[in-house]
Amino acid sequence: MTTNFIGSDGFVYAPGNAQDVGKREDQQDSFGFSDPRDTTFMTHGGMLALVADGMGGMAHGGEASRLAVRAFLRQYASKQLGESIPQALGRAVEAADRSVVEFAESVGLARDVGSTLVAAAFTPSGLYWMSVGDSALYLCRDGSLTQLNHPHTLSARLAELVKRGDMSPEDAAIDPDRDALTSYVGAGPIAEIDSPGEGFVLKAGDTVILCSDGLYRALSHEEILRIAIGAADPQEAADALVASTLARELPHQDNVTVLCIRVTEKETK
């Protein structure tokens, strides 16, 4: 059975995914792809891929990220032909947020349970994304790796303070809360969302990576790039990225989730 997503834009999107619990007790990351068999939906909604990294004690973080992914996939799948991609992504992230808020309230942990979320829609009008938190969206193109989304961590705000001259780079670098999230789903109204209004134009040969922070806290951008483009196919790339992360044997290795999507030209007869 083929698992490639056949775009109506002349591209084929080949997916790969891999995940490991790392050194944690439980898996709090979740991920998902839309259904490649729905070719009618592909003509306007494209292919959706997303990663969510939950936070919260017991199994709550894992349940939060699972609910977020499920709600997001479901809402995006209800996109109608006339609805724009950013509108559909906006509706989906709101549904994910509501889903996690309701779950958090049901376990008496309102605002203490949440999830990051990075979703990428590969559509005929380009690549769109919807990002909340610090999960990453990378583009591997022409031998370089670029992060497309803007992470919502305190370090980004500290960098602004450094730029304005209100904080020294040294103080910013050692701030103990620099990795704390400034936005996440599950907090009611979402504080910050990164979602472009227009599609980013992809080209054949591109590889797009979505991941939780367990990947980029273990591997450098150079290593991620080398492993991703060295693999024969996107599934091998995702497996190799997770294997290389675990090979680091970091004492507190976080959950790691990697989705790779390779863009190729559709074969014409």
């Binding site: 017991m58 199994a59 109608q80 889903s99 309701e102 376990v107 008496g108």
Partner: protein
Amino acid sequence: MAMIRCSHGHFYDAAKHTSCPYCGVGADAVEGKTRRVPDHAGAGAPAPAVAAPSAVAAAPADPGVTRAVFRDASSATSPVVGWLVCVGGPDKGRDFRIHGEKNFIGRSPAMDIALTGDDSVSRDKHASVAYDPRQRAFWLLPGEASGLVYLNEQLVNTPTKLTSRDIVEVGKSKLMFWPFCDDKFHWE
């Protein structure tokens, strides 16, 4: 490599795994759902050095984690067997897929048929639609929530058989039923 997609959107190698390896750890935290985490309420995250009203610390690993009851999440791909099309109410124009077995209707996005725009629909399990593959029949069942469900304007108190173009009414939403599987076609 024979990669297949499970019902939760994960790809896995069917030659290596009999079911989705990424769904197998689906914790439902049955007990945890009604309990607070001990010592959590008063603990709180340390305040960040720079004012950031919505900043929260990333969840630290909790070695003393309470193990929950684990659920074997269904990993089989569940093909569509019919549809409900919203013909009235806030979600008018949207269609919802019906899959095998029970499909819960509610306002929560976690529901199978999520009428997220209709505040008058109960959040969880307002009603459900079940497909019986043996009889190739569809049934409408009342839910566990307080909201009522109507079939062609008649109150549904017990499982009631659905036929094509029936109108299911929950809250302000009217849903037209449209079967895909019937005596002429069904999934093997």
